[in-house]
């Protein structure tokens, strides 16, 4: 209780640290002892406990808040660079160099806070952008606020003035893809080859035209035509450097893909572009049926494993010695 170490455990421990007497391990409180020791804490003690809880809560909130205060360039790198460059040309989204000159800040802020909403409102400029991006809408940037939007625009403005911005975008190689790249990409997609940084295999969330058996996951969109949708090699590669959707970002933020892995994946995605996308309905039926089969198997398996569960020593004994069944 009067411990000096300021750890959550020390703060929250309800009782005195146990005395080191070895007997103490053996002598646990009986029912009465335990009940009364908890219930009968004095008011003074309760007050102390309350103070400790409050201090703790304040500390926690403080740390949580500071974790939000990451600086704007980092934010841009993690959330925007998958679709945009500053002075590096168009990816999925437009090049942001001098964007503040093309449109006024008020509009830009509104768009940043809710891209989908602005597009859907029928705003002509937003519509044009949407079409230019081949109908890939801009996802709402995670954790965006008016304040953050203003900071982002400041950053873009400042970077636009530079000769070469730090956000010019990655240099994507132009060497043609080999069969080896495609095979490796497929292995990464299927998860048979692990990702170097420990990211999740694509198949967990995405389906694909040529995936066997149960098909890919249904959380994300089908990837068969992704190469075409995201406008080719450079934008797709850039997307994979830091996937920007709210679902993918937390997964890959700490487990980024290496440039080699990206190259292989893009090679694979390119090879499937012309195919019709996977028909997910077949996968669902297989999934349902195999689930049912598994359940039936499980029932019989457990039934045989626990076949003795209705066994009774006494009844067996009596029946064996009287030859008379129970009524």
């Amino acid at each position: 209780m009067r411990t000096k170490r300021f750890t959550p455990r020390a703060i929250f421990s309800l009782r005195k640290p146990k005395s080191p007497t070895p007997l103490c391990m053996v002598v646990l409180p009986g029912r009465v002892g335990l009940a009364s020791s908890v219930a009968a804490a004095t008011p003074v003690k309760f007050g102390l406990r309350l103070v400790r809880v409050c201090v703790c809560a304040v500390l926690w909130v403080a740390t949580a808040a500071s974790s939000l205060g990451q600086d704007t360039p980092d934010y841009f790198r993690q959330n925007c660079m998958s679709c945009h460059t500053i002075g590096g040309g168009r990816l999925t989204g437009p090049d942001l160099k001098d964007v503040t000159k093309r449109k006024d800040r008020e509009w830009l802020t509104k768009f940043l806070l809710n891209p989908r909403g602005v597009i859907d409102s029928g705003d002509p400029y937003a519509k044009k952008l949407f079409e230019e991006a081949r109908n890939v809408p801009m996802p709402t940037p995670p954790g965006i606020t008016a304040d953050r939007a203003a900071k982002l625009l400041d950053l873009i403005e400042a970077e636009s003035k530079l000769e070469t911005s730090q956000f010019k975008g990655a240099q994507v190689s132009t060497e043609p893809f080999t069969d080896q790249d495609r095979a490796k990409g497929r292995a990464i997609y299927l998860g048979t080859q692990r990702l170097g940084a420990g990211g999740t295999a694509c198949i967990s969330c995405h389906s694909m035209c040529d995936v066997p058996a149960l098909g890919g996951g249904l959380l994300g969109p089908d990837l068969t035509n992704v190469y075409e949708r995201l406008k080719g090699r450079a934008p797709l590669s850039a997307w994979l450097v830091a996937p920007g959707t709210e679902t993918m970002q937390p997964i890959f933020k700490n487990h980024p893909l290496s440039s080699e892995e990206i190259n292989s994946l893009v090679a694979y995605f390119e090879s499937t572009t012309a195919q019709p996308p996977a028909d997910s309905s077949g996968g669902q039926v297989t999934f349902l049926l195999s689930g049912l089969a598994g359940a039936v198997f499980g029932v019989f398996f457990l039934d045989s494993l626990w076949r003795r569960r209705f066994y009774s020593v006494r009844r067996t004994l009596v029946e064996a010695n009287t030859g008379r069944g129970r009524s």
Binding site: G33, A35, S36, L302, L317
Partner: protein, 497 residues
């Protein structure tokens, strides 16, 4: 050496009259509650018989206790890390309600409320669990006094190793025999129930060795039910917690004998403290079967030895407890006279309840219509007793006759001696010869006689001072405890965390 003290017990089977008073005393004090109706923390069995739950001694069915395979250290037989998961929804070694019995009462209200009719109303048996009508087929002492013996007594696991002839004799009318075996939790030194609990809810109190289940920690795994080879932990289906004999610790702490001891009509029960060496428990529990009885005795320390007293004091055992250990009747029966033996020590839990094996009537000579019971003058030799030695050895000697023979021989010698003293129709020389053969002096024989036949309440129950005020010090401030005990909410055990 790690000296501890243990409240231990002796049951003198030669004196038990099978009245079940002990069971009723316990039931009234502790288990007359919902969910506990079927529990008999104390029960009295007829031997030969299959007991309660049916055939509890048959570990091929119940897998209780520790098992020793080859040279490897002993292991719990019913559970283990690998067996918890596959058995998580169903433990195949758990006794079922049917193995105990379905508790019932009678529909007495019907006697008052029945509609007027041509017949007298009756009180039908109804289940105490479902409230439905039941057909009573079993009870906790269904085979009492050899009831249903072709089914029950004939299947007693202790008959193993007996010849066909011996088995037949046990049930032939002229020669049949039975005795009673009252049973409570043995508060073992190496309790399998404690070792098996995944929640750590069971514990053995360091200062007196009483084994208890913390009702707040129990998570209804029921591992202890399967693990205890004596089947002395029970699952309360209403509270969702396991329960067991608590050796009436609230009574002991206030200087009273446990309820079953206090009420025992035959005065067969003795209670006293023993000092033992906790460091050697593991070594002894791993001994081969035929050395277990001796091994357990070697754990128990002589409370008169100045060296032991000094070590006990430095181990924190209060002087009052040491002094109580010196007066302990259990120490006399187990260590000085070697009359009392542990039940089924081959389960390796090292039970701390010891039984004095019963004498039984002489085997009759059937000669035409006449049965002749007299042999060898007044008393018979122990080998001619109706209960075969092998049977008692299976029960009390891990299959070895030696220790049982010694205990019976000494009891017989005491009888010869006392007969010579009080009646005088036996000459002194014969009595002395029997005493010599039984390794017993006249003083010892007199002492055995007094503690067996003339024992007072204080002789039988030497209850050590429990020093709860010192034990509580390890958990909280004693003055706080004193001032606050009884305040706050005391909730009963109930399902959930």
């Amino acid at each position: 050496m790690n000296i501890r003290s243990q409240v231990s017990m002796v049951f003198h089977l030669d004196k038990c009259i099978g009245c079940h008073t002990c069971s009723i005393a316990c039931k009234n004090v502790w288990t007359d509650r919902k969910g506990a109706e079927y529990m008999w923390w104390n029960n009295v069995e007829t031997k030969p018989g299959t007991g309660y739950p049916t055939k509890w001694e048959d570990q091929d069915q119940y897998h209780g206790g520790w098992e020793k395979k080859g040279d490897r250290p002993i292991n719990i037989r019913s559970t283990g890390k690998a067996r918890v998961v596959p058995n998580i929804f169903h433990n195949p070694y758990m006794p079922s309600m049917d193995d105990y019995y379905e508790p019932w009462t009678y529909d007495y209200q019907n006697l008052f409320n029945a509609k007027e009719g041509a017949d007298q109303p009756i009180a039908k048996p109804i289940s105490m669990i479902t409230g439905e009508d039941i057909k009573v087929e079993a009870g906790p002492n269904w085979d009492d006094d050899l009831g249903g013996s072709p089914i029950y007594a004939a299947n007693d696991p202790n008959l193993e190793g007996l010849t066909e002839e011996q088995r037949l004799q046990l049930s032939s009318v002229e020669r049949l025999v039975f005795f009673y075996l009252p049973r409570i939790c043995n508060h073992c030194l190496n309790p399998c129930c404690v070792a098996s609990c995944p929640s750590g809810a069971l514990y053995k109190r360091g200062e007196d060795g009483i084994v208890l289940i913390d009702q707040k920690r129990c998570r209804a795994w029921r591992s202890c039910v399967a693990a205890c080879p004596y089947k002395k932990t029970y699952f309360n289906w209403f509270t969702g917690k396991s329960e067991k004999c608590i050796l009436c610790y609230p009574r002991l702490e206030t200087g009273q004998a446990p309820a079953c001891f206090h009420s025992c009509v035959g005065r067969i029960r003795y209670l006293g403290v023993l000092l033992y060496d906790a460091d050697r428990i593991e070594e002894v529990a791993n001994l081969p079967d035929d050395q277990l009885v001796e091994g357990q005795r070697s754990l128990i320390l002589n409370p008169f030895d100045p060296e032991i007293i000094r070590k006990a004091q430095s181990a924190g055992i209060p002087d009052g407890v040491i002094e109580s250990a010196q007066r302990s009747p259990v120490y006399k029966f187990v260590m000085e006279w070697k009359l009392a033996l542990p039940p089924h020590i081959e389960y390796r839990t090292l039970p701390m309840l010891f039984y004095v094996p019963p004498m039984s009537p002489v085997m009759a000579d059937v000669n035409g219509d006449l049965a002749n019971h007299a042999m060898d003058g007044l008393f018979h030799s122990i080998d001619a007793a109706r209960v075969p030695m092998q049977y008692l050895a299976n029960l009390l000697g891990a299959g070895n006759e030696g220790a049982v023979r010694y205990a019976l021989g000494k009891q017989l010698a005491v009888r010869w001696h006392r007969r010579a003293e009080t009646v005088g129709d036996i000459d002194r020389a014969t009595a002395d010869r029997y005493l010599r053969e039984a390794n017993c002096t006249i003083e010892e024989a007199d002492e055995i006689y007094r503690l067996t036949s003339l024992c007072t309440f204080e002789d039988r129950f030497v209850i050590p001072p429990m020093y709860r005020e010192q034990a509580i010090e390890m958990i909280r401030e004693p003055h706080e405890q004193k001032a606050e005990t009884g305040f706050g909410f005391v909730g009963g055990p109930r399902r959930g965390l």
